[in-house]
Symmetry: C2
Subunit: 350 residues, 2 copies
Amino acid sequence: MTDGISREELQLAARNHGMPLEALRYDVTPAGLHYLLIHYDIPEIHEDVWRLDVGGAVERPSSLDLDAIRARPAVTAEVTLECAGNGRALLEPRPISQPWLLEAVGNARWTGAPLRNVLEETGIADNAAEVVFTGLDRGIEGEVEQTYERALPLEEAMRPEVFLAYEMNDQPLLPQHGYPLRLVVPGWYGMTHVKWLARIHVVRESFAGYQNAHGYRWRTDEDDPGTGVTRISPRALMIPPGIPEFLTRSRIVEAGRVELRGRAWSGLGQIERVEVGLDGGRWWDAELDAAPPDPFAWRGWRARWDATRGDHVLRCRATDASGATQPTDPVWNVGGYTNNATQRVPVLVR
Amino acid sequence: MTDGISREELQLAARNHGMPLEALRYDVTPAGLHYLLIHYDIPEIHEDVWRLDVGGAVERPSSLDLDAIRARPAVTAEVTLECAGNGRALLEPRPISQPWLLEAVGNARWTGAPLRNVLEETGIADNAAEVVFTGLDRGIEGEVEQTYERALPLEEAMRPEVFLAYEMNDQPLLPQHGYPLRLVVPGWYGMTHVKWLARIHVVRESFAGYQNAHGYRWRTDEDDPGTGVTRISPRALMIPPGIPEFLTRSRIVEAGRVELRGRAWSGLGQIERVEVGLDGGRWWDAELDAAPPDPFAWRGWRARWDATRGDHVLRCRATDASGATQPTDPVWNVGGYTNNATQRVPVLVR
């Protein structure tokens, strides 16, 4: 790291948290181990007064309570969510925001009501362009006082996989994950999955709200208007083998046969290949687990390594059906988004 | 902060996490919001092969499976757990370890089997002195390879409030909180509540293991053998009022009447007083909620503040039945333990 982490970054790291990488062992990430990024405060919401208002460029605006949403046909899907800023703290110079290393990921089983039906029932105007999702979390960001909200192009909002989730891992949403309702947009980075959802507003023009027009844009420099961050780039992570040293988190591994295990995911296409690399030289193919139960859930992999004594650096690399793969070195950008450079795991074999 | 946070500290902060302070609003901390400190890795434990072995200086060693522990008479209690290192990152110079600010706390409802009965049934030797609790998490710390273990004096282990917990908030323990079994010692700092418990060993001498003899000792300098960290010092925390700025977490509050709310706790005695302070001058008494349902659970409080425009600094301070209270300034020590200096919440009133 070029510079030490600041007090401001530490405050964010103390609130928001990643998934300890040994939790890659669980098919479905247990409650509390899933990564979490909360822009402002977790809002205090009482279910008996909460409503979801659906309106804007529609023929029949509606207001739904949670029972009405729960009474609709339900879908359940495992979906891997990753923060768009995952890997940010590995960039140099380091963009100042939540200082993620590599742990900003999780794979939960979400249950909810498909969004498409809700939108169709309201009668979307012919010239509708986008759908704006507004949460109940309020704060100041980039000098703009705002309630967190993000827009999706209408065609993305109408994808059959998109839904309004009220359960995570078969339990009501936890407060920090958006209770009572959040958006789930499989394949997209986490900022899209608006939590504490209170309003869905169909609009005819391109939404100019902060989180679309200023935040979450991939910009090469401060003058670049940039392009919006959308779908998750491919990434593989491994469970660091062996045992850790408390303070440095460095790994000690016994010589001999080691089974490396991990997960890989992408919002661009199914994971088709994972490779493991050793010491900047040889790469070899990992064995992929069966395809995940849902198309945007992570896929397990394992690889054998005959560990010889000494210092080594392990890496892993995913490639998806679109042909997208991971770079060896980070690609810098102003906001520190979508850094999917391959994981680097130094180990001492004894 | 005197220096920026290092990569090593950031790695710890990305794994371990505090409780966002707005979660002080919940009587019982929801899963995933409770603070978490894991020395090594979360171990992978299969309940069907896991056993709890009870032995050492006892007449009848035993080996219990989880069903046998669940079949025993059960107790349920709300217990506030706090990391002994809470407040560490506010010390100058900053001791290098998990860089906690103030969020390393939580109040859960734990269910389990009283320890005292288990020990009595084994027939403790007359000259027994301590009880050693060993988890299944393994790593290296202070150059010592170890499985996490901590000893308690026999008289503490025999306290009626101490139990072996297999549920948290009416659910089986989550992996990160010690599944399938952990020790709960109400009133003591978190390092005592050994997770992934596998062995209870009664010994006749003072235990010389790392976490008692080297870690978790209050030392004025490196040559000081120090004294062991034990019970939780009193602390009050408030929910930061108003709304936050994303990056700085600074607070914006509307002028007028503000209700400040928070919690206070102590392992030394019941909370008897909470005061709120303004701008380094005036302090006034908060109103305490009814006594908590269990003696080592936190106690709610609220205080009215007539907020006037401008920059202000709020503080709060707890006093317990033993007369212990909180200092205004931190008291430095080598390991950065038990820093219960009063919280400082800068706000801008507009």
